[in-house]
Symmetry: C2
Subunit: 291 residues, 2 copies
């Protein structure tokens, strides 16, 4: 599994290196590359590639989808870190984009990264069938937009200082982080040809994994330090944000993460796919991670 | 022609009313609708529809493309008006989105509008062939991204207080406003089936019209008042931005607008299309407009 992910990560980094910011006017391209390259766990790209491989998907399409989803993730971090949002100065152990390139530079770099995601999905050639391109755009736009990530961020913004119950918190996180993680799996699946049953099982896998990711995130915000996280620890409590830990407590949050992990693996089993080892390993990684 | 545009505008407004912000969490959906509905000349949607009709394009695809391009335009205005960019408080005669919904709300609404543009282009049904969906996404992503609108904005940002020559200014505007206007024409064309020669002629038309639009914009910033413009007049000079008027002077700028108008009409003639009346009328409107 280590060899698997090392090889895939190399491929993703090389593709991002080639595709991001290279045809942009100087300042913009630099900010885009700063936001994307040399950072992050690349969980979403790995999910796309693992899902695509599990269904025998089109490799070129999967690499483009992997990079596109990472660009959406990266742009959301750039905008999230801005002073009018989370006002964070540290990300992946480096100054955030607006600290380095100014607020206007960060705003534009984020905007351009979102557009680039859809550009990567719709190459003029590169042997990706246009019907597949359209399906990938549909999945990504839905996961990134107001019914997905952006909607979740809006709920998050509106819920600072409020008491959410567990259902409301879950709804927020299903949109805010879950949609793009589940979308990564679905985009990988869309690179291949699967039955409705297989697609549903992998969709369930993505949903459980997406929520598990957020529960673990909430736990790490409390238990890890900033150096390990590569971002400011303890922000949620400081900003009075509702989290799984604040609602369920630390111990029940940990148990819930394990329960979601088990649900994810059960969904994989239900898919009946012959080789889902990489997806399984990624589910383990999400729950066992330390940052 | 008035009847033509009234009917098309009604169709576009109705579609935007249906599609924008209706499935978004409350605060976000409201901000998205505020940014898009009941405002603007809808020049880009009209260009899409006129181009599509000139080539006998798919009507459902054209309506989606018309709305998608308007969403990109609307999001760019929302982000442009923010304090870290132009810091403008008036747009289309109303308070700007960040004045009304806060900076974070404006940031998210803009982000969600961009995603929604690509969602509109990739319906699950609605009888738009998936290959056409992919081509529309490709054109829009390219026009909106770092090689288009976002790139032009970055150059604009970097050029405040600098002396640009006419070539540099033209390059900036070809990206900043030209790319999306030309993209509107090309997206309309992509809803139909045309020869390479026809596509090239309409692309030339879009390029000339896009630049003419900006020259007229620079003229109006000097000659019109804020009430007529619906936005703050005299901003360019106040912000020490290079414009056609500052480089060429008012008289030569007016002559250049006329020259570009003539180029646009010549390209239409060269296209050999039987009915390009609506496109011709839109070119007239761009040059003769008072706001």
């Amino acid at each position: 599994m280590r060899a698997w992910s090392t090889e895939r990560l190399t491929r993703v980094e090389r593709a991002l290196e080639t595709w991001v910011g290279t045809d942009a006017p100087a300042g913009l391209g630099e900010a885009m590359r700063y936001a994307v390259l040399d950072g992050g766990k690349r969980l979403r790209p790995l999910l796309v590639l693992a899902a695509s491989e599990a269904v025998g998907g089109n490799e070129r399409a999967a690499l483009r989808a992997a990079c596109a989803v990472e660009l959406i993730h990266a742009y959301s971090l750039v905008h999230d870190d801005m002073p009018c949002m989370d006002n964070d100065v540290l990300r992946r152990g480096k100054p955030t984009v607006h600290v380095k390139y100014g607020e206007a530079g960060a705003l534009l770099a984020g905007d351009a990264l979102q557009a680039l995601a859809f550009e990567l999905l719709t190459p003029d050639s590169d042997n990706v069938p246009e019907a597949m391109q359209a399906r990938l755009c549909r999945l990504l736009a839905h996961a990134a937009g107001s019914a997905g990530m952006a909607g979740g961020q809006a709920i998050d913004l509106a819920s600072v200082g409020l008491k959410l119950d567990e259902n409301q918190l879950r709804h927020m996180h299903r949109l805010k982080t879950g949609a793009l993680l589940q979308g990564s799996v679905l985009m990988g699946v869309a690179c291949g040809d699967v039955s409705a049953g297989e697609r549903q099982a992998l969709s369930d896998f993505g949903a459980a994994l997406g929520l598990a990711f957020q529960v673990v995130d909430d736990i790490l915000d409390v238990t890890a330090d900033s150096a390990t996280l590569g971002k400011t620890a303890g922000k949620d409590a400081e900003q009075d944000k509702p989290t799984y830990v604040s609602i369920l407590g630390l111990e029940r949050s940990r148990a819930y993460a394990q329960e979601l992990h088990a649900q994810a693996l059960a969904a994989l089993d239900a898919s009946g796919l012959a080789d889902a080892r990489a997806l399984r390993a990624l589910a383990d990684m999400v729950v066992d991670r330390v940052n």
